[in-house]
């Protein structure tokens, strides 16, 4: 009898062990109707629309100059880039070789960006290579580092703070990703963006960037960029892919003088 009881207890324990290893119930996705319909404060504005970088705004589409003090490793790239530029050469033009531009540069390409804001998420689709950026707004934290898949556009979470949408982005990939020519982004890159609508009738959008990356520069690198709302049909985004056979027809991406 004692023997039977022992077997029963062992079976019960084994069952409990199986139950403990069952996968957890998945949390709701940002487009789940029951997540979208949760009560939330009304956002102060919507960035839904098509936007185009304001080339007349100081700094235009570039994040420098001025530049922060670079780390020795980043400085090597920067010096090599300036040397190539002085010689009329292109330095590591990874974008020209179809690598993604990545955040933050994807935001300021001279192409339209379509933005769709929902209560739980903002989707940004750049007309430049159809690059997709997802900003989760449903209150989740950053992705567990053990589960994170590093990307060029990073892991973005956003929340409302007074008159601004504040977006925190980490989780970047550490290769072929540049902030400007010769300034590499590493896997330590951390970006905070304060997004506001300015100008008449919300026709302009400004983003204050605070970029830190202790592997590439010291301290905070602060830059503000501006976009214009564009409503014309021919400014909509379209399907765009960087294809090897296209690049074979684009001579400046194929130049033997390019510094790889």
């Amino acid at each position: 009898m004692r023997f039977v009881a022992a077997i029963a207890a062992a079976v019960a324990l084994a069952g409990a062990g199986v139950a403990a290893q069952a996968p957890p119930t998945p949390e709701l996705g940002v487009l789940a109707p029951s997540n979208l319909s949760k009560p939330r404060p009304k956002p102060p504005f919507t960035i839904t629309g098509t936007w185009f970088i304001d080339l007349g705004f100081p700094g235009s589409w570039r994040f420098g100059p001025p530049y922060p003090k670079l780390t020795p490793e980043a400085q090597k790239h920067f010096d090599a880039s300036r040397k190539a530029q002085a010689e009329g050469k292109v330095y590591r033009d990874d974008i020209g070789q179809c690598w993604p531009a990545g955040v933050p540069l994807i935001m300021t390409r001279v192409w339209s960006i379509s933005m769709v804001q929902l209560p739980t998420v903002v989707y940004m689709i750049s007309g430049f290579m159809n690059s997709l950026r997802v900003i989760n707004m449903d209150g989740r934290p950053h992705t567990d580092p053990d589960l994170l898949v590093r990307t060029f556009n990073g892991d973005s979470i956003g929340h409302w703070e007074d008159d601004a949408l504040v977006v925190d982005t980490t989780g970047f990939i550490d290769h072929h990703h540049w902030i400007d020519s010769g300034i590499p982004a590493s896997d330590a890159l951390h970006i905070v963006e304060r997004i506001r609508l300015v100008g008449p009738n919300g026709t302009k959008m400004q983003i204050e960037y605070t970029l830190t990356d202790p592997k590439s520069w010291e301290g905070e690198w602060k830059v503000t960029k501006q976009w214009n709302r564009v409503d014309a049909r021919d400014m909509e985004i379209a399907e765009v892919e960087c294809l090897p056979d296209l690049n074979s027809h684009i001579p400046s991406t194929q130049s033997k003088e390019n510094v790889r």
Binding site: I95, M129, L246
Partner: protein
């Protein structure tokens, strides 16, 4: 046969909507190509054209010309049928610095004498 490539200096640069660095383009020079369209690509992110240009010894050189996206070409008056293989054209380009036969598109003059560029206004909202 007389060479049908002419080089001239230019005083200003034309902005371009490129997907890559244009540091390898010499914007201080303009090269005029007189030739025949070999191919025309109407596609994103760049349209492109190949132009066969006859040289001094009768040798034909194919020039690769990179252009902006169809959306901006449409704003500048282009259609996908504006040029086609076999058309006689005069094309101006900013040349590559490396000396290879290629460059950045400036303008094309068609057989009927009309000229098209790729200049299109950067969109801005109306003044308040």
């Amino acid at each position: 046969m007389k060479a049908l490539v002419f080089v001239s200096a230019v005083a200003f640069a034309t902005p371009v909507l490129a997907h890559h660095s244009a540091a390898g383009i010499d914007r201080t020079k303009s090269v005029t190509l007189v030739g025949t369209v070999k191919q025309f690509g109407w596609q994103n992110p760049h349209s492109w054209m190949e132009v066969d240009v006859p040289g001094e010894a009768g040798v034909v050189t194919t020039w690769k010309v990179e252009m902006t996206s169809p959306a901006f070409l449409i704003r500048a008056g282009w259609k996908s049928s504006t040029v086609k293989p076999g058309d006689k054209v005069t094309v101006k380009v900013f040349p590559l610095r490396d000396g290879d036969p290629g460059g950045l598109f400036q303008s094309v003059t068609l057989a009927d004498g009309s000229t098209l560029t790729e200049r299109a206004a950067i969109p801005r909202p109306p003044a308040p």
